[in-house]
Amino acid sequence: MSVPKQYLDPEIECSSADEMRQIQSERLKHMVKHAYENVPLYKERMKDMGVSPDDIHSIDDLHKLPFTVKDDLRNTYPFGMFAVPKEELVRIHASSGTTGKQTVVGYTKNDIEVWSRSVARALTSIGTTKSDYVHVSYGYGLFTGGLGLHYGAEYLGATAIPVSSGNTKRQVQILQDYGSNILCCTPSYAMYIGETAREMGIDTKQLPLRAGFFGAEPWTEHMRQELEAILNIKAYDIYGLSEIAGPGVAFECPAQQGMHINEDFFYPEIIDPDTEEVLPDGEFGELVFTCIGKEALPLIRYRTRDICKLERGTCSCGRTLVKMCKPKGRTDDMLIIRGINVFPSQIEAVLLSLNMDPNYQIVVDRANNMDRLEVQVEMTASMFQDTLKSLTEIERKIAAALQSILNISAKVRLLEPKSIPRSEGKAKRVIDNRHLQ
């Protein structure tokens, strides 16, 4: 057996900091000029700020440039921020638009190459080779998941199996009959595939499946362990957003400690979401990306709303690509309770640390000018003993953990199982009843 290649682009993935900065600086200069000349919104915004492309000499000048937000894409719906003529476009994708008007993104031939190469680096990092079958159970369509992983697998020379999502028994059948080696889908769907295989009486240890990339929704370390156990694989996180490219903007390596950002294409910054000031490495703030390798939609300082931190250095996998942590929340999910920032994911972590299922909902309201936080937790059979005393004790334990870990005081309330409404499998975690002007 040949030893699988570790890196697709070793000269990039393991470059020195100076080499990387040089690439980034060159690309940024080129890209800013392109955006200025072809996207009216950028020309206008830069003029307002008194900045011209000539003021950008290196990546250090990035802070001089304006930010871009999701509403900019919505306000110019559908194609207002595209920087190339129609004949150069080869692909359109769009966000689901569940929280407002859709955002539409376009790609040139070269953009697809940049994106596919990013995904191929990710796949190579987890040991995918040309002789592997890559089973893609992300949805195919306007959503970037399916085609993103598909093109990445083909770019690498592996065999893409475009199963798309749904028909889970057939998924399991294909995993078994074709002998898929790598699975790509959302973590919750991967879990469902694992459970279905078990129900069908299939021993996942007998399958050739080795690893998987799971993204497009937040998931926890706890879920990784469950996925790895039920499918008998290594489970890796992959990050992306359609505005920037799609999945593959960042990916986990075998170290499973943070995701390497393809920073030669997507330059990251962390800012304070309120002051918009750039924060140093290691500090949590909002993740911002500048596309420095793309033509059709060259977004400058795009605010992702993901709360994250960056880490530089040489990883145990050998890569020097900057790493981002799993986003710990979204700026739009962030609750400020009596001045303390709270993310639903932190509540989840507290429940997991108490060995409780993270089926919860957070209700905030305000009485007498004081924020009140109620954390509602669904009961499970394993938590239930038949005395009121024991139930009060569970509530006290959760409240004490929230207090000591997150420094917030909350009222805890136990609910019957499945009483938190779930839509399409996703539960609404936060109900904010504070009506502030």
């Binding site: 038949d386 005395t387 009121l388 009060t392 136990l414 019957e416 199982p417």
Partner: protein, 143 residues
Amino acid sequence: MQLKQISVFLENKSGRLSRVTQILKEANIDILALCVADSNEYGIVRMIVDKPAKAMEELEKSKFTVSLTNVIGVTIPDSAGGLATVIDLLAKQNISMEYIYAFTSRKIGEAIIILRVEDTQSAIEILTDHHVKLITHNEIIRE
């Protein structure tokens, strides 16, 4: 010498207890005794039924949180002082009680009390030593 009691966690919302009794009715399960402990927000319904395993299965199928608890059932004379004698026996030996409720069984024709104590084994020994009659599941099911 213990009885199986079904305990169900319920939120204090209208219609929840009705749902439980409806499920048991549809499964043709007979409730012999029932008591409710409640706080402001939730309650625990405790029941002695003729088919505890079946009741648990049906309730879990409808997503209720259910547990099966071992409790002690003793018969006492249905007359003044009947309960006092038994409680006194346990109190003297420092057996602390979690909860207690009572019902009468047509079949036995006597009052029955259900006890949940912290130390079940010691309680059983004390009661048997003092000739208190512990009842079994089969003794109370109606034919």
